[in-house]
């Protein structure tokens, strides 16, 4: 299928393409599920959804073309055409072509998976051609724009020309639905326009559709940028003005062309006409139904759980602000309003901060903590000497106060990075809804603890592992209905996700009431695959733990639902990278529970990676003053201690190998010295190699090793695996104390 053009299939770009295409397919599957949901609920389908799918198909086409994957590009091309027809209203949602969208997406999935296997690729080409032929048999849709019923608008011709075909279609579609067309003009400071513009857009989307966002031709100060938004809504201009409630936005209604004015000359005067407040079209129909819609939208949400429901209270609070309202904001996008409603409040009292700035802040706090350690050392020195004991005691009190406040500061800064798990858990309920349809299994998902907070970076990394676990439960765990009934269970399967905090960790448990895992079957398979020796003595827990072994799954066949290639081993790997652990427990016939335990935050520190003997260590960079390469004979030994004359000052040296009982590199002519410092104290660490700087995530050491003096934790580095992080404060303190004792 590849014609050899475009980037090489072994290239980095190609693997990036594969993962992006996989993401797009995933998004398309989700969009399709939403689309079907909206159709089932009746009413208007959100046009953004179809437009989004169109864009995904468009991108897939462009990308596969660039990699010379002509057959895929051909399929994407037809897919794009179908979606283009749908979004432009040329193809009806209930047409046979629209019905094939699911098949197309499935075929994409299969084709992508077969890439690289030439025999399969040929077979795929045949399937693609067959599907394309079916699509073509359906024709390209009919032009059914009914221009008669659409009122004509007196819209600025420049603006009209700037609209894309799709935007024009959306304009007509809204007119057909008797919505009011408005122009919202706003000026923003250039440096912060993105925040202002997205706030304005999402505010408008609560009560209508943003058809197009265009740069405004109106003159603006150089430090400002102006936009005009073409909007369709059931609100008239004054009501929209009240809803937006922003001093730098102005709303005008686009007047209808009544035919009284000459249409050939769109005179500028008409454009400047004072906006008419009264709606041009029939008033919105379902105004009074807003409250019932709010309740309705609540109903299909996941099963009753204290934490999952849209916040009606927030919505009604927004409503009140709108008073006195002759027209309360009706739904803009086919009844999908309530979800977006709740965002208004949170936007106003939230500040968006670049995560890098938060990291900077974290680093500063980290440095403060190091300085505190230095003060602690001084306190001990002072207290040890009778002459200064009094001063030591006073400083000790101050030190304690400082420690307390520093701890508060540290946790406050950490909290800034935390976000509730709600966003990904909501995504899981979507996955379940889709699986329910695809597999025709009746399963409910219950979510508990959606407000549990976790580091933002981790929340994003958690999506894949959690989706995988939920799919596993759905696909392999929960039995078919008849099997369940035979086993004395209710027909409806149940997956429960509980999230809660335990100490410094967050635990997420995925529990299902399915068939459970058979330890004997796992054991047999592991023996067959040579993972364990036949007859080896293992506890039940140890046997269950084998499911995390690469390639070991208790069901032989791979279904599309649980995905290929990504097994429990990958889940464990992903969680390990975040500094967490995965455990599994199962009761045969009753169900399985998988627990993810994660640190609350990923605090990132810059480290210098050094090597001594065959070990690697990370030294927090904020404690490193400089690194030197010196001749071994420059080291002066006296009374069991080694010194270096560094620019006239003696520097105490300590070998990292000695510190941790490793063999010292023999007869090296030159050695590296890393000068580390805490407060006023300096120490030179002799190391064998410098490996470079790296962003490292500090993780506490768990298990039998426990706390080791001189080690503050461990970190994972791609090339070296687990690496110990030096506790610089402790090493400096110990070395200097040893020197003082002599």
């Amino acid at each position: 299928m590849a014609n050899g053009n475009g980037p090489d299939r072994d290239s980095k770009a190609y693997s990036e393409f594969l993962s992006e295409a996989e993401e797009m397919l995933e998004r398309l599957r989700g969009d399709l599920a939403d689309l079907e949901d909206q159709r089932h609920d009746g009413g208007e389908v959100n046009p953004d959804l179809i437009n989004g799918m169109f864009r995904s198909a468009h991108s897939l086409k462009g990308l596969s073309g660039m990699f010379g994957l002509d057959a895929i590009a051909g399929l994407a091309h037809h897919f794009e055409d179908t979606l283009d027809g749908l979004r432009l209203g040329r193809i009806a949602l209930d047409s046979p072509q629209a019905g094939m969208i699911g098949n197309i997406i499935d075929l994409f999935g299969t084709v992508m998976a077969s890439l690289g296997n030439e025999a399969e690729e040929d077979q795929m080409n045949a399937s693609i051609n067959e599907l394309i032929a079916n699509l073509e048999a359906g024709g390209t849709g009919t032009e059914e724009e009914d221009s008669q019923s659409v009122p004509r608008l007196l819209l600025d011709p420049t603006l009209m020309r700037a609209l894309t075909e799709y935007e024009e279609h959306r304009l007509n579609e809204n007119l057909r639905r008797h919505r009011i067309v408005l122009l919202v003009e706003a000026a923003f400071e250039i440096l912060s326009f993105d925040e202002g513009l997205s706030e304005l857009s999402s505010s408008i989307r609560e009560v209508g559709e943003v058809i197009s966002t265009l740069p405004s031709p109106g003159a603006a100060a150089d430090s400002q940028i102006r936009f005009v938004l073409l909007v369709a809504s059931d609100l008239d201009a004054p009501a929209m003005t009240r809803h937006i409630d922003s001093p730098n936005a102005s709303v005008t209604a686009v007047p209808e062309d009544t035919g009284a004015a000459s249409t050939e000359t769109p005179a500028p005067a008409e454009k400047l006409e004072p906006p008419k407040a009264e709606p041009i079209c029939a008033p919105p129909v379902h105004q009074q139904e807003l409250s019932s819609l709010l309740v309705q939208a609540d109903a299909p949400a996941p099963p009753p759980s204290s934490s999952v429901h849209y916040e009606e209270s927030t919505s009604s609070a927004v409503d009140e602000e709108d008073a006195p309202h002759e027209s309360p904001p009706p739904p803009g996008d086919g009844g999908r309003v309530p979800e977006e409603f709740s965002s208004l409040k949170s936007v106003s009292d939230t500040v968006r901060v670049d995560i890098r700035k938060l990291n900077e802040l974290m680093n500063l706090v980290g440095e403060l903590v190091m300085h505190r350690s230095a003060i602690g050392a001084t306190v001990r020195t002072l207290s040890a000497d009778a002459a200064t004991a009094r001063a030591g005691e006073d400083l000790g009190k101050t030190y304690k106060g400082l420690s307390r406040k520093l701890k508060d500061l540290q946790s406050s800064v950490l909290e800034l990075r935390l976000v509730p798990l709600r966003q990904i858990l909501d995504k899981l309920s979507r996955v379940v809804r889709r699986l329910r349809r695809e597999l025709e299994k009746d399963v409910i998902l219950e979510l508990n603890g959606v407000d549990t907070e976790l580091d933002k970076l981790m929340v994003e990394e958690l999506v894949d592992p959690l989706v995988h676990l939920v799919r596993n439960s759905f696909d392999h765990g929960i039995e078919a209905a008849d099997e369940r009934v035979a086993a004395g269970k209710s027909e409806q399967g149940r997956i429960v996700i509980d999230a809660f905090q335990r100490g410094n960790h967050v635990v997420i448990q995925v529990t299902d009431d399915g068939r459970g895992i058979d330890p004997l079957a796992v054991r047999a398979k592991a023996e067959k695959m040579g993972v364990i020796v036949s007859g080896m003595e293992l506890t039940r827990k140890e046997i269950l733990d084998l499911v995390f072994h690469p390639g070991l799954s208790t069901r032989a066949e791979v279904t599309g639902t649980s995905g290929r290639g990504v097994g429990m081993d990958v889940v464990r790997e992903n969680i390990k990278e975040m500094g967490g652990i995965v455990t599994i427990d199962s009761d045969l016939g009753k169900g399985t529970v998988t627990s993810l335990t994660l640190p609350v935050t990923l605090a990132i520190i810059q480290s210098l990676i050094v090597g001594s003997s065959d070990q690697f260590y990370a030294i927090p960079l904020n404690a490193v003053l400089e690194t030197l390469l010196i001749d071994a004979n420059e080291i002066q030994s006296s009374e069991q201690q080694e010194l270096l004359n560094l620019r006239g000052e003696p520097l105490t040296l300590r070998s990292l190998s000695d510190e941790f009982g490793l063999p010292r590199a023999e007869d090296a002519e030159q050695v590296y010295v890393v000068v580390i410092g805490i407060g006023e104290s300096r120490l030179g660490l002799i190391v064998d190699r410098l490996e470079g700087q790296q962003d490292t995530v500090l993780k506490p050491i768990q298990g039998p090793i426990g706390e080791v003096r001189g080690i503050s934790g461990a970190t994972e580095i791609s090339e070296h695996g687990a690496v110990l992080v030096l506790d610089v404060a402790a090493i400096v303190e110990d070395t200097l104390r040893r020197r003082d004792l002599r």
Binding site: E20, K61, S198
Partner: protein, 123 residues
């Protein structure tokens, strides 16, 4: 040199950046944006950008509207823009050139095509 690449596909952005590096601009700063709005934000915050390479069909704000906004602001009106479009949206090329694009390439493009378009713009 500071380049801005706007495309909703991260793969395309990486390909463009790699092509630029291979064309001898490897020491440059490469800014990226996933849609027109983000593109404008990057331009606003970067101060000066030597070249913008911009896709047409994108969410939020499409490439043509990005171009309009860029040309409407006196501080940015001079920044050269290379539009990237697909065979099926060829009609957008004429429109882009009318709004003030400086050059265009059609996807799927080869590294050579992109390089020669960029050389044409930057001399």
């Amino acid at each position: 040199m500071k380049f801005l690449t706007i495309d909703d596909s991260i793969t395309v952005r990486k390909i463009i950046i790699r092509t630029l590096e291979q064309a001898g601009y490897e020491g440059s700063e490469f800014l990226e944006a996933a849609d027109g709005e983000e593109g404008l934000e990057r331009v606003a915050k970067a101060g000066e950008v030597e070249l913008v390479i911009c896709d047409v069909n994108m969410p939020n704000m499409n490439g043509l509207d990005f171009l309009r906004a860029l040309r409407a602001n006196s501080a940015w009106a001079h920044i050269p823009v290379l539009m990237v479009t697909t065979e099926s949206s060829r009609h957008a090329i004429a429109e882009a050139m009318e709004i003030g694009a400086n050059a265009y390439v059609v996807k799927p493009f080869t590294p050579e095509m992109l390089q020669s378009a960029i050389r044409g713009l930057l001399g």
